[in-house]
C-alpha cells in the first residue's frame, strides 16, 4: 500500500539532515587516523543500502505493471536519454564558467535512476496510475544499477572529466552495489515481508547510511578545500540550472504524453517518474564510483536538484489533485438537437431519418445531450 502524504513546500527532513551533516563535516571533518575508519564504515553503509534496495524491490510489482510497456519505455527514455542529453548540453554551455567538478556533478545527476518512493507518492496524490508508477520507478532503479555506472564511464570520458570506467570501478560496483543488491533480492522471499512490514524501523538505517556517506565525502572535500573552490554564485547557478533542467524535462514529457495520446493517469506517471533523480541511489553510487575527495562536490548538484524536484512536484501533484480530470478544460462537442441540425448530421454520415422516427431520435439526442452535460460537468453530483 502506498502511503500518501500531503504535498509540502517545506524542505524535506532528509535534506535538513543532509545540510546538518554537511555543516558538521565542514566544521569537524574526519582527519588523520579517523579517515580510513570513516571511509570503511561508509563503504559498508553503501553495501548495506544496496542490500536493502535489493530486498525492497518487488519483482511482482514490476510484472504487475509491466503490461504498460510503452509508458515504461517513455519513462526510461526520459531518465536515461533526455536527462543525459540536457546534462551534456549544459556542461558544454557552462564549461569555463562554472567549476568543472560541479559540472561533472551536474552531469552525474542526469545519469541517475528515478526515485521510487516520492515518484509513487506524488503519482498517488495526483490521481495517476499508481500500479504503473510502482513498476516504472522500480524498473528505473533496477536498470540504473547497471546503466548508471556504464553511462558514468561513457559520458564522463566524453565530457573529458577524465573518469572512465576503470577495472577498480568495475570491482567497486560489483562488490559494493551489485553483490549486496542481488543478495538482498535473493533473500527477499525470506526477509521481504519483514522489510515491508518494518519500513519505519528500517528507514533510520537507510537514511543513516546516506548521511554517513555524505559525512565521509564532505570530510574529504573539506580537507581538499571545497569551500574555497565552490562559492555562493556557483550554488545559485546550480539552483538555476536545476530549475531549467526540470522544467525542460517536465515540458518535454507532457508534450510527448499529449502527442502519443497517453491517458491522464499515465501522463501523471510519465511526468513524475520521468522527471525524478534519486538522491538515495545517487549518493552511495557516487561514493562507489568517484574518488573520495571528489564525492562531496559531485553530489552537491544532486542535493540541490533533490529539493527543487520536491518543491515542483509537490506543487504539480496538488494541482492535479484539485483538477481530477481534464473534462472542464476540454471543449464540449455540441450535439444536433433541432430538426435541421439532426438532418444535417444524418446527411453527413449517409443516413436519412424517417419522418416517423424524428420525434424519437430528437428525444434520444436530448437524453444523450444530458449525459454529455454530466460527463463534462465540473461537479456532476
Amino acid at each position: 500500500m502506498v502511503r500518501v502524504s500531503k504535498p509540502s513546500f517545506l524542505p524535506d527532513f532528509l535534506l535538513l539532515c543532509l545540510i546538518a551533516t554537511v555543516a558538521c563535516a565542514s566544521l569537524f571533518p574526519a582527519r588523520g587516523v579517523a579517515v580510513p575508519w570513516v571511509e570503511a564504515t561508509a563503504d559498508m553503509a553503501i553495501a548495506l543500502l544496496f542490500f536493502l534496495h535489493g530486498a525492497k524491490l518487488s519483482r511482482a510489482a514490476i510484472l504487475q505493471g509491466a503490461g504498460n510497456w510503452r509508458l515504461h519505455l517513455y519513462v526510461l527514455a526520459s531518465t536515461y536519454i533526455l536527462f543525459p542529453a540536457i546534462g551534456l548540453a549544459m556542461v558544454a554551455l557552462f564549461r569555463g564558467v562554472a567549476d568543472g567538478l560541479l559540472l561533472t556533478g551536474l552531469l552525474y545527476l542526469t545519469l541517475l535512476p528515478s526515485t521510487v518512493q516520492s515518484s509513487i507518492a506524488f503519482t498517488a496524490i495526483a490521481g495517476g496510475n499508481v500500479a504503473a508508477a510502482v513498476c516504472s520507478a522500480s524498473l528505473s532503479n533496477l536498470v540504473g544499477l547497471l546503466l548508471t555506472p556504464l553511462l558514468v564511464g561513457l559520458f564522463m570520458a566524453l565530457d573529458g572529466g577524465g573518469e572512465t570506467l576503470s577495472w577498480r570501478s568495475v570491482q567497486v560496483i560489483a562488490l559494493q552495489l551489485l553483490v549486496p543488491f542481488l543478495a538482498g533480492h535473493m533473500l527477499r522471499p525470506w526477509i521481504g515481508s519483514f522489510i515491508d512490514r518494518h519500513k519505519r524501523v528500517l528507514m533510520p538505517i537507510d537514511r543513516g547510511a546516506i548521511l554517513l556517506v555524505v559525512y565521509s565525502a564532505f570530510s574529504a572535500a573539506v580537507v581538499g578545500g571545497i569551500w574555497s573552490q565552490v562559492g555562493i554564485p556557483d550554488l545559485l547557478l546550480l539552483l538555476l540550472l536545476s530549475i531549467v533542467m526540470l522544467l525542460i524535462v517536465m515540458g518535454a514529457n507532457l508534450g510527448l504524453a499529449r502527442l502519443v495520446g497517453l491517458p491522464r493517469a499515465d501522463r501523471i506517471v510519465l511526468l513524475f517518474c520521468g522527471s525524478k533523480k534519486s538522491l538515495v541511489a545517487g549518493v552511495p553510487m557516487a561514493g562507489a564510483l568517484f574518488p573520495a575527495a571528489q564525492v562531496g562536490v559531485i553530489i552537491l548538484p544532486l542535493m540541490i536538484f533533490h529539493q527543487i524536484q520536491l518543491f515542483l512536484c509537490a506543487a504539480l501533484a496538488g494541482w492535479f489533485a484539485r483538477h481530477p480530470d481534464d473534462a472542464p478544460t476540454m471543449q464540449r462537442p455540441p450535439l444536433p438537437r433541432s430538426v435541421p441540425e439532426i438532418e444535417s448530421a444524418a446527411d453527413k454520415c449517409g443516413l436519412t431519418i424517417p419522418q416517423a422516427c424524428m420525434a424519437g431520435v430528437t428525444a434520444n439526442l436530448a437524453l444523450l445531450d444530458r449525459h454529455a452535460d454530466t460527463l463534462f460537468a465540473t461537479d456532476p453530483s
Binding site: R264, I342, L351, V361
Partner: protein, 444 residues
C-alpha cells in the same frame, strides 16, 4: 428441475440417460407454452443428436464431461451452426445460417452440455427490459405482470422458472446482472474479455461480455471452470467493502440490510464521479451501437424494432470527439478506481435499484424521479462494466417477496474469489434462490 451438477452426476453415473433428461426438459418447455415469452426457438433435433452422443460416450466408457447431458439455452445472439443469428431482430430473421457454433457453445458442448433453446432479448441487446417487438415482452416468473429485466431476460426467466438449469446471456451494461436480480437467480458478468466473444453478435465492443445464469453457486462454479479452464485460485482472506454514495442512495432497504448482515464492519467506499462514469458508458454504448448498425439503418431503418431504432439512430449521430472524450475519461477512471479499491477483494452493491417494475408501467425511481426502466434499470451495473470489473449478481433470500439481488464486485481476474465468497453467503443462508410459486416441478 435439478441443478446442473446434480443432472450431470446422474447422467455420468448412469442413473439417467442424457436422452431421458432431454425428453423431460423438452416436455417441460412444451408445457410452459410460451407463458413467459422467454423462448424464441427449440432446437430439438440438434439437442437429440448431442444427447445421443453423450449416451454413446458413456456406453463406450469415455468421459462425457462435467456437464454431461445438462440441457441449457442461449440468448438469441449466439451463433448456432445452421441457424441465422438474429440478435432478437426481425431484420436478421432470414440471415444466412451461422457456419459454426459460438466459441462458448463449443466449450459447453465439449463438456457434455446439450443446447436446447434460444432465448428472448431486447433487440440487439439494447435495453434492460426484454421488450421485443418480434417475440413479445418476457414475463417475470415471480409475477407475470412484471418485467424480467434485460436484455438477457429470456435467459434469466427460463432458469428462474426452472425449465432449464442454466443459460447463457450477454452483459454490456448490466444485461446479465439486471435480469438475474429481478428474477432471483445468479448471474455473472466476467472481467471484460475473459470469456470468449467469438460468434456472439456484438453490441458495444468496449463493454460486451458473455455470462451464465444459474440457480446455485455450485453450478456457476462448474460453468466457470468449463468456460475458462478453471485455473484461478481464490484468496483465503477476503477483504470486503460496501459501495456508498449513489449506490446506497438508490438501493432498497432490504439490500442495505443484507449488505450490513453480510459484512457489518466493512468500510463504505464512495466511488468518485459515478454519475459521470455512467454518462460516459451511456455515450460510448450509444455511439458504438449506432456505428455498428449505421449501414442497416441507412438501408431500412423502419425494419428495426421501434424501441431500439430511435436510440440507434441517435447514437449514430453522436460526434466522434464526444465518443473520444468519453473513452479518454474511461481510461483515466479505470485506473483511478483500480487504485482506490486495491485493498479490497469484494465490493458489495445493489444489482438493481428496485424489484421488477410492472409491464404496464415500466418506470422506476432514480434519485427521487421516475425514469424509464428500459434505460435506467442498469444504474448500478453500468459503472462497473464501464471499468471492466467482474461482478456476480447474487439473489437475496426473501421467500414470498419479489426477488432482489446484490452485486459482488471484484478486481479484474478475481472471479474465483467472488465465487468462493458467494458460496460462503449461500452456505450461511444469506443469499440463495427462492423458486417462484409455480416453478416447473419436472423430474430432470
Amino acid at each position: 428441475m435439478k441443478q446442473a451438477v446434480e443432472i450431470a452426476a446422474c447422467v455420468r453415473s448412469g442413473q439417467m440417460s442424457a436422452m431421458a433428461v432431454l425428453d423431460a426438459c423438452l416436455a417441460g418447455l412444451a408445457a410452459e407454452g410460451g407463458r413467459l415469452v422467454a423462448v424464441t426457438g427449440i432446437l430439438a433435433d440438434r439437442a437429440r443428436m448431442e444427447a445421443a452422443a453423450i449416451d454413446a460416450a458413456i456406453a463406450s466408457g469415455r468421459d462425457p464431461g462435467p456437464l454431461a447431458g445438462v440441457p441449457y439455452g442461449v440468448k438469441d445472439l449466439f451463433d448456432i451452426q445452421g441457424q441465422p443469428t438474429t440478435a432478437g431482430s426481425a431484420l436478421y430473421a432470414h440471415a444466412p445460417p451461422a457456419i459454426a457454433d459460438a466459441e462458448a457453445i463449443v466449450r459447453l458442448r465439449g463438456a457434455g452440455a446439450v443446447l436446447v433453446a434460444t432465448l428472448n432479448m431486447d433487440e440487439f441487446a439494447y435495453g434492460f427490459a426484454t421488450i421485443n417487438a418480434r417475440h413479445g415482452t418476457t414475463r417475470n416468473p415471480h409475477d407475470l405482470n412484471r418485467l424480467a429485466g434485460g436484455s438477457s431476460g429470456g435467459s434469466a426467466a427460463i432458469v428462474a422458472a426452472q425449465y432449464l438449469p442454466f443459460s447463457l446471456g450477454s452483459d454490456t451494461n448490466g444485461s446479465v446482472r439486471v435480469p438475474a436480480s429481478l428474477t432471483g437467480i445468479y448471474g455473472l458478468k466476467p472481467t471484460h474479455g475473459t470469456l470468449p466473444m467469438g460468434g456472439v453478435f456484438p453490441f458495444a465492443h468496449s463493454f460486451d461480455d458473455v455470462g451464465p445464469f444459474t440457480r446455485s453457486i455450485a453450478d456457476m462454479q462448474c460453468l466457470w471452470d468449463v468456460l475458462t479452464g478453471g485455473h484461478d485460485v481464490p484468496r483465503d482472506q477476503i477483504r470486503v467493502a460496501q459501495l456508498g454514495g449513489r449506490f446506497r442512495a438508490n438501493a432498497d432497504e432490504d439490500q442495505i440490510a443484507a449488505m450490513q448482515a453480510i459484512a457489518p464492519d466493512a468500510p463504505l467506499i464512495d466511488l468518485p464521479d459515478i454519475a459521470r462514469a455512467r454518462s460516459a458508458a451511456f455515450l460510448i454504448t450509444a455511439a458504438e451501437g449506432g456505428a455498428l448498425h449505421r449501414e442497416a439503418l441507412g438501408r431500412d431503418a423502419m425494419a428495426f424494432d421501434p424501441a431500439t431504432r430511435d436510440r440507434l439512430l441517435a447514437g449514430a449521430l453522436l460526434p466522434q470527439n464526444l465518443y473520444e472524450a468519453a473513452q479518454a475519461f474511461r481510461a483515466d477512471y479505470r485506473q483511478r478506481i483500480t487504485a482506490l479499491i486495491a485493498d479490497h477483494d469484494v465490493l458489495l452493491a445493489p444489482a438493481t435499484p428496485c424489484v421488477a417494475p410492472l409491464i404496464a408501467d415500466p418506470r422506476i425511481l432514480i434519485d427521487g424521479a421516475l425514469s424509464p426502466a428500459r434505460a435506467d434499470l442498469g444504474i448500478h451495473t453500468q459503472p462497473i462494466s464501464f471499468i471492466g470489473l467482474p461482478s456476480l449478481s447474487v439473489p437475496l433470500r426473501r421467500p414470498g417477496r419479489l426477488p432482489l439481488g446484490l452485486q459482488l464486485i471484484g478486481k479484474a481476474g478475481s472471479e474465483a474469489t467472488l465465487l468462493r465468497f458467494a458460496a460462503m453467503l449461500e452456505d450461511k443462508g444469506l443469499t440463495g434462490v427462492t423458486s417462484p410459486t409455480d416453478a416447473y416441478q419436472g423430474d430432470a
